[in-house]
């Protein structure tokens, strides 16, 4: 009795896989035997193999597309053109950056720069208070005081004031040239010497965001923001009775105190947080006397701050020549000593014959 050899049953995808592999010569001997057995016993499988073999042969007979003329030359020139900027340089150093690396690096650098800027903001350049722009000079304008106000009430003077106000803009430049306030020994000084008590000063534009813009106005002797700048003031200016001073506040005092123009109508002591002082200056702008205008007690440190103010005539304000606070408040003993020496010398100094008085208002920050 002979046993009939078993015929493996292959259908569908399994048969297709074997036929496909057979067409590529990928079958092992056992698989080849199995497939041959199936094909010998299954006409449909045999037919399928023939069809697939014909299909593969036809596909393999398809001619390869011919490349266009000078393809290699175009490709080479295109590659060299697109890599000429930086790629070839990197290439020579053995560095092969991917195409988007430069853009990515720029983006990363930008993000880092923004992050640094946001996390460490620069000090504000525009400060709401004086202290942060204390390095610049604060212009001080001298005006004729009570006498000028009294004269201003005369009708004839009002008419003159109107005319003068019309000519103010035209004459502003000329006044700046004709009244050099930087010379204490000039004509205004003699007037001030004659009437020291009548000269009232106010620190102008101390809280205005136009400190630098105040300089030309200071040269003309006009207090632009002052409500007490009536026509007689202009007249006084034209008669060269107006002097300008500037002061630069630096150091710890600037951080603690705020210097303002003394208001025309001083508020009551109860409501005013600021202290007002009448400061007497010598011809060189140094403070020789300080008198508190308020009845309340004055802090010693505040008094020291006001005493330390050194004004400079406008016109000689340049660089380090700007009057500055020798900041005794901050504990600079050396500056204190110098100021003390200067004040003691002032008593006997013949140049101190042009004392001026200004009114300043100082408030704590």
């Amino acid at each position: 009795m002979s046993a009939r050899p078993s015929v493996p049953r292959l259908e569908g995808e399994e048969l297709d896989l074997l036929i496909s592999r057979a067409l590529d010569g990928d079958l092992s001997p056992e698989e080849t035997r199995d497939l041959e057995t199936v094909l010998a016993n299954d006409p449909a499988a045999r037919r399928r193999k023939e069809e697939l073999a014909g299909l593969v042969a036809e596909a393999r007979a398809l001619p390869a597309p011919a490349p266009p003329f000078a393809l290699s030359t175009r490709v080479n020139s295109d590659v060299s053109e697109k890599t000429a900027r930086g790629g070839s340089i990197f290439h020579r150093f053995g560095f092969y950056p991917p195409p988007g690396m430069a853009i990515g690096a720029m983006v990363v650098l930008g993000v880092v720069a923004v992050a640094i800027t946001v996390m460490n903001p620069a000090p504000k350049r525009i400060a709401p208070t004086i202290a942060q722009r204390a390095d610049g000079p604060v212009d001080v304008f001298f005006q004729e005081g009570a006498r000028a106000k009294k004269a201003a009430s005369a009708p004839s003077e009002r008419v003159a004031a109107k005319i003068a106000s019309k000519e103010k803009a035209r004459d502003r430049g000329a006044a700046a040239l004709s009244a050099p306030a930087s010379e204490p020994s000039s004509a205004p000084a003699s007037i001030l010497e004659a009437k020291p008590a009548a000269v009232v000063a106010s620190v102008a534009a101390s809280n205005e965001p136009v400190l630098s813009a105040a300089a030309p106005q200071a040269a003309g002797g006009i207090a632009p923001a002052s409500p007490a700048a009536p026509a007689p003031t202009v007249r006084a200016m034209r008669s060269a009775e107006v002097r300008s001073w500037s002061v630069a506040i630096r150091g710890g005092g600037a951080r603690r105190w705020m210097l303002r123009r003394a208001p025309e109508s001083r508020p009551s002591a109860a409501s005013a947080p600021a202290s007002s002082f009448r400061v007497t200056l010598d011809a060189e702008g140094r403070v020789t006397a300080v008198r508190a205008l308020d009845a309340r007690a004055v802090q010693p440190a505040l008094l020291e701050f006001v005493r330390g103010l050194v004004f400079a005539p406008v016109g000689s304000v340049a660089g380090n020549a700007v009057g500055s606070v020798a900041d005794g408040f901050a504990g600079e003993q050396k500056a204190k000593d110098e100021r003390t020496d200067a004040l003691s010398e002032k008593k006997t100094d013949k140049t101190a014959k042009n004392p001026s008085e200004i009114e300043v208002e100082v408030s704590a920050r």
Binding site: L17, L55, R60, P67, S72, V75, V79
Partner: protein, 227 residues
């Protein structure tokens, strides 16, 4: 016909088949390399390029350019094939520094070309093709692949042959992308199973199954076209 390499197993005293190697005519002559005469070989060309010699890369382009173009033309059509070739070699230029030789340069270039062709055939590529003036979606991008007539055949035979090739190209183009790539790489470009696996980045078993299914689908597509 496949050639069998026979070995003699002395311990068993019989012949045994140790391996069957398919030697197909098209595998050796699928492509004519224009730069074959001065081709120094992969290693020398690569070392030249990596040392900064431009000539090394030019030789690579000359030798493999036609091959890459053929694959690109079969995947995206001749009209876009040159762009794919340029993108392929540009990528190759930037990537050759990282080429470690784990695969052959040929399969590495084929893989880049396949990726570039896929990108061109993707959504963005189809959108771009819609806005290219003078080209409609109904145009057959493979029309120019129809080769010249065989001078030895009669005009009728040439017409039939041309018709069959057009139909076959259309059926190949209608295959799903994964099967189409396998069929093109194996049957049209003549790569071995191992090379196809390297290009596609899949195991050899996957290549076998994709080829089998792709061929079966191709046969069905042709039947549908005939019917």
């Amino acid at each position: 016909m496949p050639a069998r390499i026979l070995a003699f197993d002395a311990s068993r005293g019989e012949e045994s088949h140790v391996r069957m190697v398919a030697v197909t005519p098209m595998a050796a002559s699928a492509h004519h390399h224009p730069g074959e005469r001065d081709w120094p070989g992969d290693e020398i060309a690569l070392s030249r390029f990596l040392s900064g010699d431009v000539l090394g890369f030019e030789q690579i382009v000359r030798y493999y350019g036609a091959m890459v173009f053929s694959l690109a033309a079969r995947l995206v059509g001749p009209a876009d094939a040159e762009d794919v070739v340029q993108e392929t070699f540009l990528r190759a230029y930037h990537g050759l520094g990282k080429f470690r030789g784990e695969s052959s340069l040929k399969t590495w270039l084929y893989a880049i070309a396949l990726n570039r062709a896929r990108a061109r055939m993707g959504t963005l590529g189809r959108l771009r093709a819609m806005f290219v003036p003078g080209r409609s979606r109904e145009d057959d991008p493979f029309a120019s692949l129809d080769d010249a007539a065989d001078p030895a055949a009669s005009p009728e035979e040439n017409a039939v042959l041309k018709e069959r090739r057009v139909r076959l190209r259309g059926a190949i183009r209608a295959l799903p992308e994964e099967f189409r790539a396998a069929v093109i790489l194996r049957d049209l470009e003549g790569l071995s199973y191992e090379e196809v696996a390297e290009v596609l980045g899949v195991p050899i078993g996957t290549v076998r199954s994709r080829l089998a299914r792709g061929r079966a689908l191709l046969k069905e597509n042709l039947k549908e076209k005939l019917s």
